[in-house]
Symmetry: D2
Subunit: 273 residues, 4 copies
Amino acid sequence: MCRWMAYTGNPVPLETLLFKSKHNLIDQSMSSRSAETPTNGDGFGVGWYGAREIPGLFRSIRPAWNDFNLRDLSQQVDSRLFLAHVRATSMATVQETNCHPFRYGQWLFVHNGEIFGVEKMRRDLLLAIDAPLLENILGTTDSELMFHLALTFGLTQDPLGALARMVGFVERTGRQRGVEEAVWMTVGVSDGESIWAVRYASDGKAPTLYHSRDMDDLAHLQPELPALLGEQARAIVSEPIGKFPQAWSTVPQASSVHVKAGELELKPFAPLA
Amino acid sequence: MCRWMAYTGNPVPLETLLFKSKHNLIDQSMSSRSAETPTNGDGFGVGWYGAREIPGLFRSIRPAWNDFNLRDLSQQVDSRLFLAHVRATSMATVQETNCHPFRYGQWLFVHNGEIFGVEKMRRDLLLAIDAPLLENILGTTDSELMFHLALTFGLTQDPLGALARMVGFVERTGRQRGVEEAVWMTVGVSDGESIWAVRYASDGKAPTLYHSRDMDDLAHLQPELPALLGEQARAIVSEPIGKFPQAWSTVPQASSVHVKAGELELKPFAPLA
Amino acid sequence: MCRWMAYTGNPVPLETLLFKSKHNLIDQSMSSRSAETPTNGDGFGVGWYGAREIPGLFRSIRPAWNDFNLRDLSQQVDSRLFLAHVRATSMATVQETNCHPFRYGQWLFVHNGEIFGVEKMRRDLLLAIDAPLLENILGTTDSELMFHLALTFGLTQDPLGALARMVGFVERTGRQRGVEEAVWMTVGVSDGESIWAVRYASDGKAPTLYHSRDMDDLAHLQPELPALLGEQARAIVSEPIGKFPQAWSTVPQASSVHVKAGELELKPFAPLA
Amino acid sequence: MCRWMAYTGNPVPLETLLFKSKHNLIDQSMSSRSAETPTNGDGFGVGWYGAREIPGLFRSIRPAWNDFNLRDLSQQVDSRLFLAHVRATSMATVQETNCHPFRYGQWLFVHNGEIFGVEKMRRDLLLAIDAPLLENILGTTDSELMFHLALTFGLTQDPLGALARMVGFVERTGRQRGVEEAVWMTVGVSDGESIWAVRYASDGKAPTLYHSRDMDDLAHLQPELPALLGEQARAIVSEPIGKFPQAWSTVPQASSVHVKAGELELKPFAPLA
């Protein structure tokens, strides 16, 4: 398992959400409430949209909870849209290039989950990726393969369609290699304006995913929040953060979320052939 | 909290005890059964006596569970006496020089616990250390101060006496600075022949510590163990490892253990003025 | 040796000076023109004043030339005043806490040089530091001792006076311990408004130090510079960076520089008893 | 460029050759005499054959010159055959999995040089590698691709033949992708008994490579060497180490060396179709 979060709203210091809220992502790096792997200490990363077109990326193999550079960066940097990720792996090596988010131009990608039996289909997956994109693959995770497959299938034009084609391709390849239910994932994607997220598993049991509720609703719980984060603020998280569980709605299995300018659209998600 | 172990017996690959036994120290780095801090992911270290007079030292800021170099080293290196440590800190920085064991000549030192209020007495403690020894202090932990105080008080001549004087000095200094019960510890020390261990806390509630039972006893549980580790093998651990809880005896509060050539001596431990 | 630079002027991305100028500090990390140690690959650091009162700090044990996080940070972060440092050591351990700048509240400190014979006087120097300041010492360099001695001697009230008292104290302590000429240094200090720098050695042979000339002068060389960096921009560097050697003036031996709001004051520097 | 060395002979502590000889490999990490890149500070690795069938591997992203764990390991570990490598890269990321040696079962592989235009043919090269071997590729260097191509082409059965087929394949692929002279290399390979090394470049200008001369010859220079290293000791190096340049013979362009049990065989090397 891993844990991730995505935020869009008023520019705030990263630390507001990463460190200062209750049961925040950094806390989750040491003690996620997910029963499977409470520890997500195999590196972390944060990608943020700031004053440049290309998002910044800070990734490290250290546990997020003990990295002083992350603390400083999170205090100094304001962002109106960012993705953060804490990693737990029993497979691919712990190295910066295996930490999420992955980046391609102005695009960022985070993933929680696994391609089952990836060792049986790595060659097929690599082969399906546009050759020039291979130079952008710097690590060895299944996650990075999924991102570059989605890029090959048109992510920058049609994000949800490309993700659906990617999942369909991985499932089909899996079946050819004897893996019946290959995909188990939540993913988050951004171009700096929108956030797209998908919760999907071949067997219908994808990891948890939540989206924040309207600021109007939240204002009842915590009146200062809308002023701080803005009326249009929205967040998507693997696990609820903050004081109020009521602030979060479950993203259903086999669903996608699209957040832009305060609008949140929830739709069914199905793999495409 | 931290977790540590010390072993003396037949030369075995480090991995035999570090990786291959059940609930071993590397497992404890991710999920210690100690309720306080299940995660000991803030670096680790192993010090081993091999073919040289000076013990080898391998320390890293990575969690022990994801360090490939540790795996390789543990497969390749045989040792007849070694100390290993996994660290959890909320205080001193995560850096190699704050990882245990600490070394001075042929001596190794590991610690689990804390000097309460060390920030009020750091200057006093530094001042009490023999000036030439200051150059051997490379990090900023209370543990390293305790080791160098004990060296100042005669550790290489009279290990248990020096530890008793060190504890007495820290408690006395604490009281002068308004800290009533300053010491909370288990420590392990070796010169390559003996292992000395102490369990002590000013308030009588030191962290857990265990020593292995006679190989004769163990042979009833696991007949192949005496052949593998030798009749004289003994281990001291923060938490039991292996399949058989019956294999371990509790070291009582305020006690010391001395292991040499298969003999294990348990004695009361009290601070010296 | 080490190499450092300090900049104040228009807010610019750190990369403008760290990466994009000719023979910049990152180049100097691999191939300084200083004959003594062309390689400054033992870690680096950058401290920058941004939107918060406390400056940000990013330090790493990697060589500056191969750290991807530094590249990203330098692209994303704008600063109107920053200090950067690349390290070469044959003494203190390579760890983040031994990388410059050091920070205390809103103050930053960088150093190039050495206290000769520091091993003979470490205890004296530690003893002279205000006890509460000891908790801010996280590493083991002579540089960090110098910074905290200067803080003890009033750095935040009277920077140049405190530096003079610090140098006087170290030289006096050195002589007591048999070190005739103990200090060899250039240092840079900032509170976020001013930059103070000192070039001094007990034997009169301090490492090189340069300050930039007036923007009026520079406009003759490179007309776009004043518009980019601002009329009030000033820099202080161990080694000239950029295309035009004529852009730099030598800071004489035993001198201090004070830069604030475009004004640069050069004065003699002498240790104080 | 990178620098590497391979040794076979009497078991000696790694430090004898890595640290204690004049202009040793660790010195070369900071100041190689090769004009192109004096600094080889982008990580290092050592693979050694000890008491296990599988060789040990210690790789780190730190410069070899400042890694304390390498010093300790080199003092403690004896080996009768080892390969060591210091890395300089302007291309692939600095991460442990991009450090040499690479390992497959009992085989080790080091490389100095480059596949020119690898970005134009990465897909072709990946595609030519046996699918199950892809899971053993943990990094993103051209070197690791070369190793796994050679494994695909029979390295474990016929090392020099497989290397010749690998080079032929890369050159052919290069020409198809518009790269006329793709290969520039020295490589070293071992199975724990033999060392094979090749010096070859498509344009006839491969990096330097040297082999040691007979111990009889060396005994004239340094009488104690045969006793220390043994009559059968042989070494292959990118750059001469030690006090006596006369101790080394140049490996000619387009040649291979095979060392086993004190015998050294030099042969021409040509790519195979």
